[in-house]
Subunit: 326 residues, 2 copies
Amino acid sequence: MSELRFDPIHQEWVTVAAKRMQRPVTDAASACPFCPAQDEARSELPRSDYGVAVFDNQFPSFGVAGGTGADPLTVPGSAGYRRARGFGAAEVVVYSPRHEADLGTLPFAAVRLLVDAWADRTEVLSRRSDVACVFVFENRGASIGQTIDHPHGQIYAYPFLPTRMRSEYHSLWQHRRMEGSCLICDLLARDAADARRMVDQAPGWRAVVPFAPRFPFEMHLVPETHRGSLVVMDTRERDGLATLLGRSIRRYDRLWGQRMEYMMCIYQQPHECQPTNLWHLHLAFYPLRRAADKLKYLAGSESGAGAFLLDATPEEMARHLMEAGG
Amino acid sequence: MSELRFDPIHQEWVTVAAKRMQRPVTDAASACPFCPAQDEARSELPRSDYGVAVFDNQFPSFGVAGGTGADPLTVPGSAGYRRARGFGAAEVVVYSPRHEADLGTLPFAAVRLLVDAWADRTEVLSRRSDVACVFVFENRGASIGQTIDHPHGQIYAYPFLPTRMRSEYHSLWQHRRMEGSCLICDLLARDAADARRMVDQAPGWRAVVPFAPRFPFEMHLVPETHRGSLVVMDTRERDGLATLLGRSIRRYDRLWGQRMEYMMCIYQQPHECQPTNLWHLHLAFYPLRRAADKLKYLAGSESGAGAFLLDATPEEMARHLMEAGG
């Protein structure tokens, strides 16, 4: 049972999930909990006749279904501090029964199925009254803390609006009020005119290194049409995303001829943005490597002050990504 | 020459310092650039007759003195994006000529001298018109990216208010407007009444695990009296800080009988808070280890969404830190 606590200094929620301490660390294929093992007791997924598998995280950060009627986040906690039960959801998305499968090497149909699975789970979880925001992500590589080697991602359904979703929401709202248009649409139009940071495209999508990224070789996949989430994307757009996803990951892996460690995050509209159509969906890749033999660390300036430093210009990064090919 | 770029989505400055890519990685004592080596060409600090040494970072993130009159951060950049020269300062603070010295093992007088050095540099850098905020920090341990093993910290003089300084500033401002008091003063009074998270104290100071920390075993050192920065602290308070600093670091190292990796950050008043006396100085330790054999990673939820997860309750963390002893 997890608990949410509100930090009054930075006005953000922190999740305390004490049970997670016991989660296993393993990368040996023989003991993989996601492989269809002979010994069923050791596998969370004994079957192998599936495309994409989605199930509840056994060590969830969020997991208590809400539905008490009142919004628990508005209830003051003890001694003036605010706390709440850690309701919401934490799901695991396994990309394939094959341990050595990968978003960069899976066939198009498998990645396309994954896009549909993301959209389906987003639709189902977004309907719940205790869910403020559905966050699809993947942590790839041991240096980002991936504890199970078998290719998989995760879905968190947060009961609150996380800090970076909130700041983006604020900017989108402010821009629409001041300019009457969508900030992401406007940035995309501006970036399309500057070929130096435009890395790739597929039907309905662009892949761009942003003007002011936080991570080395950071790349955003942005739909050309204003879309709030994967749920409302049509077949052509889902096809385009599956194509661009595979190419983007191969591009990263070819950059230095080694498997790139990254976080992949999908920013979809928060629950309260649904009526306003304010949000513009996008995906982001945050690589953790600034050179073949150099990791990027989130140290004092980044983690403590919130000020990120880059070793190369975004234009240089984009050029290297273009040259790597997808 | 570094460059600042403004991210319009999260409304924060990012620093591009392309020259930093060439900075050396070394941890062998024989090649240490901070040791008083025989071969002077290989040392940045050939002398050994000093207590604390402060000098400009040879691979600075910020380093161009400002003073053009106009504030460059207000000048729009090309194509609607905002950019600025990376003015400000980046300094290195070496704690001792001894390679094996450490904030936890240095004698009191040496740590006390370091506190004075921090205060002096804060005073000098804060006077500059191009400096918005002076940030003193230490990255300790290879897993947080410490590239030179010789004990040292850093000082960044940012030309902008970093994101987490800005959110704290906003909360302090809001609390004073709504409650007429200092948020940090009020939190400290509240925490002092709950012994479970109050880890340690020294004259004028408290060491507390906050109600909603982001990092495992996170601990804040907070002055009991409302103080904006180290500059205005009297002798008793500087003595108390030096005492508490040494004890806190020994506490971390005793927790599991191994050297704790952490970030230490000092939050001092931004330039524009000086006339209002709004700010309340505090130090924070952000450890990177959640168990003797388990690192804390800043992965998708933390880095992508800004939602932090903890494996243990703050009250449990505080109890372990108390039991470790300082």
